[in-house]
Amino acid sequence: PAHDPTPPLATANPHRTTYRTTMACFKSTYADELVATAAAMSVPGKGVLAADESTGTIGKRFDGIGVENVEENRRAYRELLFTTDGFEKYCSGVIMFEETLFQSCKDGTAFVDLLKSKGIIPGIKVDKGVVPLPGNTRGETTTSGLDGLGERCAKYYAQGARFAKWRAVLTIGDALPSAQCLDDNARCLARYAAICQQNGLVPIVEPEILTDGAHGIDKCAEVTERVLSCVFAHLMTHGVMLEGMILKPNMVTPGSQSSQGGSSASREEVAAATVTALRRTCPAAVPGVLFLSGGQSEEDATAHLDAMNKGDQQGRKNPWTLSFSYGRALQTSCLKAWLGKESNVAAAQAALLRVSEANSKASLGQC
């Protein structure tokens, strides 16, 4: 039987609060809303657009198409993305950078209001970027931004955001990631997630393991499983409500410099290794696993997601939705079509729609 939503409970104590929150052992006024938002972000056939490039990073994208990195261009580009007709069919939410959360369309409509009117949930990147780990001799980093996070979350919630994102970065190497790196990044992710939930934001938990390196797919699988296991251990310790969060992991692939090389591990291998890693470490209570694209081409990112949703399920369905939270893998064609010109907006939007639709199909295994 496939119960969705949960059937009602015959209870011996009708004056007790809703069972889900009671048994989550999670005391937050936002519990039910968090669960609803996370469920909305996990609808199969939809994914999240990661449009949260910081000012510096979007500058790199703009450099590639010869566009000046000024606030008006950044605003215009995001308006292009959000006003794409029909985009809401494939997109459940958009992650924004702080600047963007407070920006508006040319006609004065606030971005958050525009998105909400289309049924797209606004989200916000809340981390402040990576910083070196003190005493670490291998160049490993942690992510900063915990100080004052609660107040910022409240401010973003008031503006209309309903989910947040925090990106931890780990590297595979000889004896890497180190215990220090793994421990601190997992701990920061957990604390970030707990703070978000206390302030009404669904946390997207993103432990990204970079593809840099010459390792094979097995090594990536090993590290991914270890990282995810540690992340969930810390989430448990910090009392994060799994039903109200989203996981945004890397896919399990060979290293970019490995002899197996970028795309020469088959799509099925990547899919199988990724789903296996999740089955070993990601609890069923998490409603959605929305992958990062991590520099994969649009085609690869779509094909891998599709293979995962089509793949041999061994007769058992996955308990979480497998979908996308792509940045470059949704925007590359769009940026190339736009080139900063008003006259190209329609073509750019068409490109975005095309890639989004492909990924929507991939999240249903229907490519």
């Binding site: 039987p1 496939a2 119960h3 969705d4 949960t6 059937p7 409970l9 015959a10 209870t11 011996a12 104590n13 004056h15 007790r16 069972y19 889900r20 009671t22 048994m23 989550a24 052992c25 000889d174 004896a175 890497l176 990631p177 180190s178 215990a179 793994l182 390792h215 094979g216 097995d218 090594k219 699988a221 090993e222 590290v223 499983e225 270890r226 296991s229 540690c230 969930f232 251990a233 448990m236 799994l242 296996t276 089955r279 070993r280 470490t281 990601c282 609890p283 069923a284 209570a285 058992r316 369905k317 996955n318 308990p319």
Partner: protein, 473 residues
């Protein structure tokens, strides 16, 4: 702690470990001489019990109708099995052929030390154990524990009685329709069926019931933890697993009991971590010897805690278990969970319906039970068959898309206590009656495992005895 220590009475009956299946006892410090004596006894006698040997020899010669071979023959068969096990590769983890040099945190990954064939075998056995509609019969009480149960109903505790009783549990007509596996005490591994003279592991396998074993474990109080315990048994486990494998076992089981004692802060972080680490290492050792590990974190029913507390503690314990298993590199797809059902404490004053209990169980699993593991077979832990079945049934009725595991039973007391009652006031074991009732009970358990059982009245509900929201006094 107010617990009675029966050590002196125990020692006359068994020398190697006690089954702690139902009543954990604190083992006193072993004196060095005692251990040495234990070891030499083990090598001398096939069934490890000084007292029983003489009885066995007498009964073997006098019961001519039963084709039990003389002790000397059994000893040599055992010695051959042992020699074969020792002749195999030394008991150290083998580096997988394609594994890169291990450094840093990547010491072991998900069964990387196993070959593809070995992994496939573990998956096959785990799948057999997790056959929908079937469950495990737990017959692994040591001679001491089963002896207590026999004597409580006036049955003499002899090796033959233990053998004959287990034979009924294995061979009753129709039992194998409902059984996927059986957990045996090591003694039983080397006993034979009177039906065809075959060793029990072979008999079971021929009936489609996977045989497994509970290795000897000793309970030990963790100093400074208010009586919380750990299980000792990792030393020499690999060697013993190899013996059990040679004897026909395909899985093993290790039980780590825990108690919720909120006032004393138990189970504490240390108690949980220590026990779960040991379970993870036991699992790794089993897999290295070709046995599927059943990991059994058993949080006792005892206590006054409410269901929410039980959920919180179960999530904490099981999260730690699976985290340790992942860190140790256990091949998750080739392991099985045998956990307690999540219940309010036995003396909890708050009432709960069976649906609330079922929901609590699913919530716990959703929060920590990896979907790479395919089956969880609940222990009964003091619940009656009626309550356990009603709850298992409610769990399976509520199962949905979020719950891809097979959820079934691995019951001993719930199924067997009524069987002993059939012998009360009678002369010896009532084998036929036992068999009939046993199969009827298994049918109920099987229906519960499929979610097709119908409970009577309020079976499975927890009736609180008082307090603000409580029921009847």
């Amino acid at each position: 702690q107010g617990r009675v220590c029966h050590f002196s009475r125990r020692f006359s009956r068994s020398t190697v470990g006690f089954s702690t299946h139902s009543r954990p006892r604190i083992a006193p410090r072993l004196v060095p001489g005692a251990f040495a004596k234990t070891r030499s006894l083990r090598s001398a006698t096939p069934n490890f019990h000084v007292h029983e040997t003489s009885v066995t020899m007498a009964s073997a010669s006098s019961l001519a109708s039963i084709q039990a071979p003389p002790v000397a023959l059994r000893a040599s068969a055992l010695a051959r099995a042992r020699a074969a096990a020792r002749a195999r590769a030394p008991i150290v983890p083998r580096a997988a052929a394609s594994a890169p040099p291990m450094s840093g945190i990547g010491a072991c990954h998900a069964g990387a030390f196993l070959s593809e064939t070995e992994k496939a075998h573990l998956v096959t056995i785990a799948a057999m154990i997790g056959t929908p509609g079937k469950g495990i019969t737990a017959c692994d009480e040591g001679p001491g524990t089963i002896g207590d149960r026999f004597e409580a109903v006036g049955v003499v505790n002899t090796e033959e009685n233990r053998r004959a009783y287990r034979q009924v549990l294995f061979e009753s007509e129709g039992a194998n329709e409902f059984l996927s596996a059986a957990i045996l005490d090591p003694e039983t591994l080397y006993q034979k069926s009177s039906t065809n003279g075959e060793l029990f592991p072979k008999v079971l396998m021929a009936r489609g019931i996977v045989p497994g074993v509970k290795p000897h474990l000793k309970i030990f109080a963790l100093p400074g933890q208010n009586g919380a315990t750990v299980m000792q048994g990792l030393d020499s486990l690999a060697v013993r697993c190899a013996e059990y494998k040679a004897a026909g076992c395909e899985f093993a089981k290790w039980r780590s009991p825990l108690e919720i004692d909120v006032a004393n802060g138990q189970p504490s972080d240390l108690t949980i971590e220590t026990n779960m680490r040991d379970l993870a290492r036991y699992a790794l050792i089993c897999q290295s010897q070709g046995l599927v590990p059943i990991v059994e974190p058993d949080i006792a029913l005892k206590g006054t805690h409410d269901l929410e507390t039980a959920v919180r503690v179960n999530v904490k314990v099981q999260s730690e278990l699976f985290h340790q298993m992942n860190l140790h590199g256990v091949y998750m797809e080739g392991a099985v969970l045998k956990s307690n059902m999540v219940n309010p404490g036995k003396d909890c004053p708050v009432s709960y319906t069976v649906e609330e209990i079922a929901e609590a169980n699913l919530q716990v699993f959703r929060r920590c039970f990896p979907t790479a593991m395919t089956t969880a077979n609940f222990l009964s832990g003091g619940q009656s068959l009626e309550d356990a079945s009603a709850r298992l049934d409610a769990i399976n009725k509520r199962k949905g898309r979020k719950d891809p595991w097979n959820l079934s039973f691995s019951w001993s007391a719930a199924v067997q206590m009524p069987l002993f009652q059939l012998c009360k006031g009678k002369d010896g074991l009532q084998l036929e009656a036992i068999g009939a009732l046993y199969v009827a009970e298994l049918a109920i358990a099987s229906a519960a495992a499929l979610g097709t059982h119908t409970r009577k009245g309020t079976e499975g509900d927890h009736k609180g005895r008082g307090g603000l929201f409580g029921g009847k006094k």
